[in-house]
């Protein structure tokens, strides 16, 4: 084998502001042309590892390096970001932060401009690379005219103009809907094949990354490498699960059915998965044994939208004749690709915008003309980014903010806030500054600050975006508890696991129209619907077909029912 292109030897790193090293004694070789996935939960050190490769560490985030790190022949810790950027192209997680130029063409050319490349050559390169990633028709467009997936392609083009040997992707799927995530992985695959670059992907969404072939997975936790092996090997053990990485759903199902997973069965992709007769029988038997979950009784209607139409400008209508019903005590997800009007619908429901026509009824009462404030007492809205909602420095003050104009006495406010904090598990922290909290805890604070107003329904925008499995579970279990207390929960989401596991019902949008109102399982088993709503068919569906189960939809239903009963047993 050739010499490694990236080589860590006894490498450790400690941030200047921290007492403990973040990376301990890393030994890792990555070879030219390899595709490597670095996986690990939040705070595991996987992003730190990536920043060492592209030079953000130690040049932007100073600290102490020991051991050696060679990147494409360069002694990384003793070179510079600029030198490394000739060898490593980094695509950051936030596509809006990465997109610096005013138009696509300018952004792709950015690095060439900094290298003082002459204009004719620059234009040629931009054209060539834009063609390679499929944005050649968009060179004059501004960032806000592009979808998230297109922005990401531009980001990739912008680092490829340097003819780098290594492409580094920092959580490339975090901000994308499942369908776009799928095509991103296809694009990375295609680019790797064409250019033979080395690809390093940092992600915790394992099943989505494995949509295309990956040579190796490096599992990182607590600053150490726990595994460095093929996907088949790693998926056959329990290391992933033990370290807070979610395994592909079809493997979970196989394990429920008692099928033993071994590397020979090629568990890394459903299409390559080899099941013998015995395995298939186990799955079928499990399917019969579990049985159909009980039907939930119909409950009274809480919120109803009738013939809603809306556009920010008269010439561009966003929502077209939307009709929907939310029942009391339900948990519902709203899905569909970016820009299809999901967030706009949320704004209409909260009264941030007024529909051009149509009606909103809450418990049968018309609230279309009610003010934001009066609606907020009934419907709570939680933004995607808690940092955009939090405006006080202490937890107690933050949660109490919404009550300050309610006319309640200080004493009443204190009681209500404390009660809410107890429900949200934040009571022990009530006098802490918010800055000391983790992302998940901050999210809880924002939910608490909405809950304190006593709403009947809370509406959350992407509650789990960018969260690893542990935080995801923490947030979702908390929402489920609230739901059991009688709060109706509506979520805008891209997360198919969330849909399947927590929301029996899903409303799917496409092009500003409601295209489906059915069970989450049904949405994820219908190829046409998944495509129109920018989702991905669930792998459970494929597994059922592979095992010759003629009612795959029921298989999915039973899987969900089984998981729920398992959780209840645990509680």
């Amino acid at each position: 084998m050739a010499d490694p292109i990236i080589s860590f030897k006894n490498f450790s790193f400690q941030y200047r502001a921290q007492k403990q090293p973040t990376l301990h004694d890393i030994n890792l070789d990555i070879y030219p042309g390899e595709r490597v996935l670095i996986a690990g939960p939040s705070g595991s050190g996987k992003s730190t590892l990536a920043s060492c490769i592209n030079g953000l560490i130690p040049f932007s985030y100073p600290g102490q390096c020991t051991g050696t790190l060679t990147v494409d022949g360069v002694d990384a810790p003793h070179s510079s970001i600029f030198q490394l950027s000739q060898h490593v192209g980094t695509v950051l997680q936030d596509p809006d932060g990465q997109f610096i130029g005013l138009t696509v063409g300018e952004d792709i050319a950015f690095s060439l401009e900094n290298d003082c490349v002459a204009q004719p050559e620059m234009k040629d390169t931009v054209k060539r690379v834009a063609g390679l990633v499929g944005v050649d028709g968009l060179l004059d467009l501004a960032p806000h005219e592009l979808s998230g997936g297109q922005k990401q392609r531009v980001g990739l083009a912008g680092v490829m103009v340097d003819r780098v040997q290594i492409l580094l992707f920092d959580e490339p799927l975090a901000n994308l809907d499942p369908a776009t995530g799928k095509s991103t992985m296809e694009l990375i695959d295609e680019i790797q094949e064409k250019t033979q670059t080395t690809v390093v992907i940092i992600e915790h969404r394992l099943e989505d990354v494995l949509w295309r072939h990956v040579d190796r997975i490096i599992l990182v936790n607590e600053g150490r490498i726990l595994a460095d092996t093929t996907p088949d090997q790693l998926l056959s053990g329990s290391l992933l699960r033990d370290n807070g990485i979610r395994e592909p759903l079809y493997l979970t199902a196989l394990k429920y059915a008692g099928v033993e997973i071994t590397p020979e069965k090629h568990p890394d992709h459903l299409d390559r998965l080899v099941l013998d007769e015995g395995d298939v029988r186990k799955v079928q038997d499990w399917f019969t044994a579990v049985g159909q979950p009980p039907e939930k009784p119909e409950r009274p209607v809480l919120l109803e939208g009738k013939h809603l139409n809306f556009g920010y400008t008269p010439d561009r209508q966003i929502l077209h004749d939307v009709n929907f019903v939310i029942h009391e005590g339900e948990m519902v997800s709203i899905v569909g690709h970016n820009g299809t009007g999901k967030s706009t619908l949320a704004k209409l429901i909260c009264g941030f915008e007024t529909p051009d026509s149509g009606q909103l009824l809450l418990e049968g009462k018309d609230i279309t003309q009610d003010s934001i404030r009066s609606r907020a007492a009934q419907i709570g809205y939680v933004m995607q980014n808690p940092n955009q909602m939090i405006s006080k420095t202490m937890i107690f003050e933050e949660v109490a903010l919404g009550l300050s104009r309610s006319g309640l006495s200080q004493e009443e406010i204190r009681t209500r806030v404390e009660e809410t904090l107890k429900i949200c598990g934040l009571y022990p922290f009530r006098n802490w500054p918010i800055s000391a909290l983790s992302f998940g805890q901050k999210k809880r604070v924002t939910i608490a600050s909405v809950l304190v107003m006593g709403p009947k329904l809370i509406l959350l925008d992407e509650p789990t975006a960018g969260q690893d499995y542990r935080h995801y579970t923490e947030i979702m279990e908390f929402l489920r508890q609230l739901n059991r207390r009688g709060v109706t929960v509506v979520m805008i989401t891209h997360d198919m696991h969330l849909m399947l596991e927590y929301t029996p019902r899903a409303l799917a949008f496409s092009g500003g129209r409601l295209i489906a109102d059915t069970t989450a399982a049904q949405v994820l088993c219908d190829p046409e619907l998944t495509q129109r709503a920018a989702l991905k068919e669930t792998s459970l569906f494929g597994l059922a077909q592979k095992c010759g189960i003629d009612r795959p939809l029921e298989f999915v239903d039973r899987f969900i029912g089984y998981e729920e009963s398992q959780r209840e047993v645990k509680e």
Partner: protein, 183 residues
């Protein structure tokens, strides 16, 4: 390290000017005096200048204010733009002694911040803007000084009150985690 901070300054100036623009152009908080709004952008300018220093502060004021004037469609009113830049520079001169990134913002620093802002705004609107108005536009002395005095008082108050509240809240967010106990 040095190079990095210069890239950061370029970005801070850009984002700061964008903030100055958005707040100055689209956010109107009535002051209580008819047709006069509180210019919150000067509070944000004070915070950013105190964080990033005189060069960044001056440029944020200059670029932000020029963009606002251009977006209204007139030719830029240079005398007032220069005054905005001046405020950024003067407050920025105190960046070192305020040391916001340390997170500990005591009474002494509050006084420094307030004094810096009052001085900066008083000179900018009370002297620079009117004098330039007279030099460039030959406007009458009484009018420009009356206008300048009003702006000086209003912007000083905004920068001191809102600016101070912002700075205090901001420094609290970077407070050391230290010895926090659950209760």
């Amino acid at each position: 390290m040095n190079k990095n901070s210069s890239v950061k300054t370029v970005v801070a100036v850009g984002i700061g000017a964008a903030l100055f623009f958005v707040l100055g152009r689209f956010v109107a908080i009535p002051s209580g005096i008819p047709n006069t709004n509180i210019s919150v952008q000067y509070a944000v300018l004070a915070l950013l200048a105190a964080m990033y220093g005189p060069v960044a502060g001056g440029l944020i004021g200059f670029i932000g204010h020029t963009l606002i004037d251009l977006s209204w469609g007139g030719s830029p009113w240079w005398s007032w733009i220069i005054a905005s830049a001046f405020v950024g520079v003067v407050v920025g001169l105190f960046a070192k002694s305020l040391a916001l990134s340390e997170g500990d913002f005591g009474k002494k620093k509050m006084v420094t911040f307030a004094v810096a802002n009052v001085v900066a705004n008083a000179i900018a609107w009370g002297v620079i803007a009117p004098v330039l108005d007279i030099a460039i536009y030959s406007e009458p002395v009484e009018k420009v000084f009356a206008q300048g005095a009003m702006a000086a008082v209003a912007n000083s108050l905004t920068a001191v009150i809102i600016g101070l509240l912002l700075v205090v809240a901001f420094t609290k967010t970077i407070a050391k985690k230290g010895s926090l106990d659950k209760e």
